[in-house]
Structure formats: C-alpha cells, structure tokens
Symmetry: C2
Subunit: 155 residues, 2 copies
DNA sequence: TATAATATGTTATAACATAACATTTATCAA
DNA sequence: TTGATAAATGTTATGTTATAACATATTATA
C-alpha cells in the first residue's frame, strides 16, 4: 500500500530533480523520519532515530547539514522557539507555500500547522511593512495549550 | 539628571513592592544592564557585562535565575527565536501589557518592539482560538530586514 | 532570636550548534 | 574511461545556551 509518506517522499524527490537539488539517500531518510514522527524532533533525536531506524550511523553534525538542505528545499521547517524540526505538512498537496504558522502546545508539545485566512495575513503583513520593515518569509510560532490538554490539565 | 533609565528602574521597584516581589540589588542591576543595552543580549553576555559594569562577579547560572525573575515580573522579555533578552520597552509608561510584538532585523540584529492595532490582534487571537487552541501570552517575533539595512545591503 | 523561606554561589553537565579539515561520492569535460 | 572538480558526508573538536544539584548567605516573620 502506497501511503501518504511514500507519496510525500516521491513528491519531494520529483521537486528536487525539477529544481536541480540533489536528494541523496541519507537526506531522504532524514525526511522520512520526520514524516513518520508524531511530533517535532531535535537534531540529536533525529540522529538517534536514524541510527535505530536504518541501522546506519549519523552524527549530529550530519543531521544538521541534512536539515539545512531540507529546509532550503522547503521540505522541513525549524521551530525556532523550541529548536526542533518537522516535515512541512504541505509536501504532498499543491498549495502555494505561504508564511507557515504553527500552534505549539506547551503541555503535550504537539504542533499543528494551521492556515490563517489570507485576508488576516495580508493585514498583518501590511501593518508591519508600513513601518518600513521588510518581512522575510519566516514563520509565526504561537504558544498555548491545545484542546486536548485543556480538558486534561487544571494546572 | 534623572533619565529614562532611572525612571524605569524606579517604576520597576515600585511595581515589585506593590505586588510583593523581591527586587534585590543584583536583579536591579541586571535590569539596568538591559535598559542601557543598545540591543538584546544573551544570558552569558549579561553576566559578562555585569562583571565589567559593576566590578562584581555573576555566574551565568545566576544570570539565568535573575532573568527568570525579571520575566515573571514582566520587566524583561526573552526572544525565543534568538535566545536573547531585552528590557520591556513599556516599563516607564502606563500601557496595559498586551501580547508583545517584535520585529527582528536579521542583518543588524536590532529589535523593535511594536504595537499592532488592537483590532488586528483581536482578529488574530480570535482566528486561533476558534480552532480550540488557548493562546498563552507569548509573543510575536517577526524576522526580516529593517529600513536602515535595506538601504545599505544588496545581498 | 530561632526558623523557615528565598536568593545567591558553585560546580558539573546536558542540550543545541558550528568550525575545520579529511574522506568519499557524484558530475562532467577532455 | 579517466582525471579534475565540486558536492556530500565523516570525524573531531569546540562554542553556545541552559539546567540540575547542592552549599551558603540573606531576608522575612513567628
């Protein structure tokens, strides 16, 4: 059965050949780990999972380099507020890539990549650019407590 | 001459006594360093400046603890995307404290604390909370290039 | 003043990230 | 096909950010 992960990996491969980026086996396997992960992972966690999943060594140094590549290729995002990495949730779809927006739960640490309305994003962007500041396509990371955790935790 | 920094320090003192927080000399001096700084500083930089400014030692460990206190007291913010700390720019004024918003220049690393319109912030907040997610009062950190650097740099 | 709580000092170490150089692998012109 | 070049990966060392654990000093208050 060809599942969503395989489709994403295939799309990633295709996109790289199209744009002349070299998607090696190791890079692909790093992406695979992130696609399979239930949440964002640190570079060191990725290196560890690589070793156990593929029975092949990967230094943290290499993990960082591969993550840099995958981020350049827009296949992976880094959460700057938690020093973790995750696969872009739009690899397999046709969406144009917008400024990504993440909701990060500070209780269970799950992350949801959301899509705010174009209208709202435009207003936000305009307000900022009116001050003369040129936004680079960085992301919005918003912290709080997800629905599930609100029900469970009182603290 | 009683300058803005002294006024801010006094306000900080007053606010702490009012709310029962203990503003010690060292904590006050850490705040002073941030008020005098031209930009955000890392915890280690703060410890170093403390030593040279006050001719008194301060370990990084202590700097972190004092920063934690100052953040709890809402006198200092941490830039989560760059691991740096800065004094709240609203200590000396009467503004109610809203979700802080920072524009961070990736060229010259200056940071501007801005105030987006209440209207826009409300829309943003509502959009997010409609998904069931409870925003904690975290901040918005937006990266890009400031006006000055746009003129200077081509790259 | 005794005692309890809070703050600070000190040392060690964990976690995140990059520099520098060696080796291997892939690309491509001759 | 091979030799030259560039790109990727390996390896070691080190820099940077942050916290844990326990000792000592200071402050608040019963």
């Amino acid at each position: 059965m060809t599942d969503k992960i395989d489709i994403s990996l295939q799309k990633a491969q295709d996109e790289c050949s199209r744009t002349g980026l070299r998607m090696t086996d190791k890079r692909c396997n790093v992406l695979k780990i992130l696609l399979q992960a239930s949440g964002p992972l640190s570079a060191y966690e990725i290196a560890d999972q690589f070793k156990s999943t593929f029975a092949e060594s990967l230094s943290a140094m290499s993990a960082y380099r591969m993550l840099d590549f995958l981020m350049q290729a827009n296949l992976v995002h880094k959460l700057e507020t938690s020093n973790q990495y995750l696969a872009c949730s739009h690899i397999s779809c046709e969406h144009k890539h917008e400024l990504p927006q993440f909701l990060i739960c500070d209780k269970c640490h799950t992350v949801k990549e959301i899509g705010l309305s174009k209208q709202l994003l435009k207003e936000l962007k305009d307000s900022i650019e009116n001050t003369g500041f040129a936004l680079s396509s960085q992301q919005l990371e918003l912290h709080g407590v997800c629905k599930g955790c609100q029900l469970i935790h009182a603290d």
